[in-house]
Symmetry: C2
């Protein structure tokens, strides 16, 4: 199967610490890299973790808080200094472009590549990106300003052809694409060979959702139901439940409840408040509700 | 003597690397901290190096290239999250304020402290800051856009009173301030005691200059003549002399020539191009001209 992998560049929250960088991660599907969020210092994390800069095609920005977007201008500038030529697509609230326009105009004059902005409406659940392999959907979140998560879904894949059956029925190569898509085969004698005898099931379509920053949003459970991996913010532990509510964040237990109720297969928690110097309290509270849970961490990779 | 110390937060050049952070440093005079330049990641360097955030009063920005100012917005935001109350003064080209206004308006709404901008004219040599202890002067540089260095000079200090002489002549305490300033003392009998018998020489006034990014500017030598410490950019070695000229930077040898000709006491070189994974080539070339030279490095402190 093609790679489908999530690499964490940063999983801290508003205040950067020496333990955690600001929010950013890479979703690798096939040979394309998609970035989610780009806090200050992201370009350095790319270097530190040996990510191939030039393979990053898209950057999805969940919301306009500094810890999710202050790294953009530096990264965009550096890509140009490094001679990038392929376009870079930025998916974000329309305000980002407006706010940063004077900066882009001044610092990014004569960029070596095209920077293409795509405005997204965080309040709507919609497909905002599509290529041969995946779609990306927005997941409306509840935060102090417009904010959305992102759901990466592989498209349904083609069935696997059984080579022996192709030879047995002497099926000409030009018909194989149709058979991969589910067609039956009719022999020259008129016999119909059902597709199920000619092919094996397609690989499952994998799916990943990123939800940060947000109050728990059970209204999205139907959308993310059964996905392979959920990254959910867990800024606080139970002891700061009131603070979580007040700041429109989630506790670890609330993140785990979403994972449980949406019946996802695995959960990663991140966006840790700088007050925790040991996140095991967050992990333990989450695991009480949803055992298949792991802590995010800079440099950690999660393979689907 | 009061502390006068320079701490390097970052001494890399345009491209951040895992070896060097973007340009920033702290000049500590007495209990005040002055920051020079603020590249991306500066706030993290402050944490890493345990700098007391709240003691930073002023930020001096040499010029508007990203590696010297992209860290401002994140640092300003974080200071507010941490509840800073004392004002922060930013000395920079007027354009900075204009370029970043929409960002400040959006991300820095309801800041917990006052952010005060002071426009500076990089093309003029002038005193732009003054307090009880120091003055800061601009040093016009030659770069691809308006750029200036900064010269920190302690003000002349008062002479040291010789306690025994105060007692011997029974000089009343209220007269001591004048004596520290150089007054003679007239005894009740009318005898004039010259100040030189009552006091020892004042401590010397220390001085530090920061010059980055720039072509060599010998026209500033008269201004920085004899200073205690010069930080000068040395982006390139001799082998890239043409590239240095083309990009309006200096080589290590050129930096050392400035130090030599201006008869400064010590030289630090920094702003290293990312192409050098070992800066000893830069140090060796500089030392051929000016032996009292050291390499800058993240976390290194230089005490005057």
């Amino acid at each position: 199967m093609e790679p489908f992998e999530i690499q964490i560049l940063g999983c801290g929250s508003a205040l950067p610490t020496t333990r955690h960088s600001a929010s950013s991660q890479i979703v690798k599907v096939g040979n394309k890299l998609h970035m989610i969020d780009c806090g200050e210092g992201t370009q350095l994390q790319l270097r530190r973790l040996h990510v191939h800069f030039s393979h990053i095609n898209n950057v999805f920005i969940s919301h306009l808080h500094g810890d999710h977007c202050f790294g953009l201008i530096g990264m965009i500038s550096s890509f140009s200094l490094l001679g990038r030529t392929s376009p870079l697509h930025i998916y974000a609230d329309a305000l980002l472009r407006k706010i940063m326009k004077p900066q882009f105009d001044f610092f990014c004059k004569g960029l070596s590549y095209n920077l293409i902005f795509h405005d997204i409406d965080a309040s709507q659940h919609a497909i905002i990106y599509e290529d041969n392999n995946i779609t990306v959907e927005t997941l409306p979140q509840i935060h102090r300003l417009p904010c959305c998560g992102f759901l990466f879904r592989e498209k349904p894949k083609k069935r696997h052809i059984i080579g022996e059956m192709m030879e047995f029925y002497k099926i000409p190569p030009y018909m194989r694409t149709g058979i991969k898509e589910g067609n039956d085969y009719t022999t020259p004698e008129g016999e119909i060979i059902p597709n199920s005898r000619l092919t094996r099931d397609a690989d499952p379509s994998r799916s990943y959702a990123y939800c940060s920053d947000t109050l728990p949003c059970p209204q999205n459970n139907a959308i993310i139901k059964g996905i392979d991996l959920l990254y959910h913010e867990a800024t606080f532990a139970d002891d700061e439940k009131a603070r979580a509510k007040e700041t429109f964040h989630s506790t670890a237990r609330e993140a785990a409840t979403i994972a449980h109720d949406a019946e996802v297969k695995r959960l990663i928690i991140g966006h840790f408040s700088s007050r925790y110097t040991d996140e095991s309290i967050l992990l333990n509270e989450a695991k009480e509700i949803f055992p298949c849970c792991e802590l995010a961490g800079e440099g950690k990779s999660f393979i689907l």
